[in-house]
């Protein structure tokens, strides 16, 4: 994705993503990748966000100390739903504290968890988008200036 943007294979208009946004690091892309493969994907998604979102803010804590969404490891489908919502409460408080109306995430499990628990946490208005979704939303088609 970074190559597409740097090589100008895709052109992005960040004014199309004008909601205040925050970013969640999924465990598998960040601390687990760092432990297993020696590289955590912390900065790459943040650079992509800089290219396609007008304004975004960090949660705290973030990167390797990011708080888990609560929906990984098979917990979305093991039936312990009440426990899973309870797990996610810390995460949702962390998102709420940023004041953002949209959270961007590059993981299907985290995405499913946020959508699933946001109402129970009083955050039904929160928009949840994939990282590649906000890129697609900002895509400028060839031959079009905006």
């Amino acid at each position: 994705m970074i190559t597409y943007i740097k090589d100008k294979r895709i052109k992005l208009d960040k004014t199309r993503n004008d909601a205040l946004t925050t970013y969640h690091d999924p465990c598998n892309h960040c601390r687990k990748a760092e432990r297993l493969f020696g590289h955590g994907y912390y900065e790459e998604p943040r650079w992509i966000l800089d290219q396609c979102v007008q304004q975004w803010v960090e949660m705290y804590p973030n990167r390797q100390h990011q708080i888990c969404c609560g929906g990984g490891g098979g917990t979305l489908i093991n039936g312990y739903n009440e426990e899973r919502i309870f797990y996610g409460r810390t995460k949702m408080e962390q998102i709420k504290a940023t004041g953002a109306s949209m959270v961007v995430v590059p993981c299907h499990s985290c995405h499913g968890q946020f959508e699933s628990i946001k109402s129970a946490c009083g955050m039904q208005e929160l928009k949840v988008k994939y990282l590649w979704e906000v890129v697609a939303d900002a895509l400028v088609l060839p031959g079009c200036d905006s």
Partner: protein
């Protein structure tokens, strides 16, 4: 926040343990360094589900060290844990706590794996995907979504490449994207189209999820990975994109 209360917090699970049942050799062969725990409790402080059913990461690690197999295997806690590794990042002794949880999960009889997890694994072994979706239905769905993209202005020439020989990228598909969330197939495909990427999906072994990872089933996990590797070899594809 009333819906996020946990009434089972701090459940009294203190039981008298018959010390003749302790078996400190039981899990000694596990390569996760569980026996060097200093009992500092950083893991438990970091974990959002410490306290449920009276368990927390430190307690589990101590139980593994003491070989309390029956209690660990029947406990719900190792399944409520998401294996997110926040505990492991903090552990001063670098104990691989998430893999300890996965090891405990692997000891459950398969018919006692909670929820639909093992059903999904069985369907994946049998059919190549967790849903048990037949190939013709899969192809119908992806072609249908491709048609919807092609109906959008600027995307008239869009088609979905299937089993393309020599593609640069093989993009796996999370089963929910050919089930309840087909709209979400479109984002990445549009980007590939505009970027002029040489990409493909495959008509078989397209599953992007590997529930054997969740259930501690190494055999099933490896089988699913082998099938993906087969697709890469068969169609001479250079890169695998596996976002799950």
């Amino acid at each position: 926040m009333t819906d996020t209360k946990a009434p089972y917090l701090m459940t009294d699970t203190e039981k008298t343990i018959d010390i003749s049942k302790l078996d400190q050799d039981r899990f000694r062969s596990w390569p996760y360094s569980q026996d060097v725990c200093l009992t500092c409790g950083l893991c438990s402080s970091a974990c959002p589900v410490s306290g449920i059913d009276g368990f927390d990461p430190r307690k589990i690690i101590r139980m593994v060290s003491l070989g309390l197999e029956a209690e660990l295997v029947e406990a719900r806690w190792p399944w409520i844990c998401t294996m997110c590794a926040k505990c492991a990042v903090l552990c001063p002794m670098e104990i691989d706590i998430p893999n300890v949880m996965r090891g405990i999960r692997s000891l459950r009889p398969r018919n006692e794996v909670p929820g639909i997890l093992h059903k999904g694994v069985e369907a994946a072994i049998k059919t190549g995907n967790i849903l048990g979706l037949p190939k013709e239905d899969f192809l119908f769905i992806v072609e249908d979504v491709a048609g919807e993209i092609a109906a959008e202005p600027g995307f008239e020439a869009f088609t979905v490449p299937i089993d393309k020989q020599g593609a640069n990228i093989l993009s796996t598909i999370h089963n929910k994207l050919v089930n309840t969330h087909t709209e979400d197939l479109k984002h990445l495909w549009k980007i590939f189209f505009v970027a002029g990427e040489n990409w493909t999906i495959t008509s078989e072994a397209w599953e992007g999820c590997n529930w054997g990872f969740f259930t501690g089933d190494d055999r099933a996990m490896k089988l699913m990975i082998d099938r993906l590797a087969e697709q890469l070899t068969r169609f001479e594809i250079k890169n695998l994109m596996w976002p799950e």
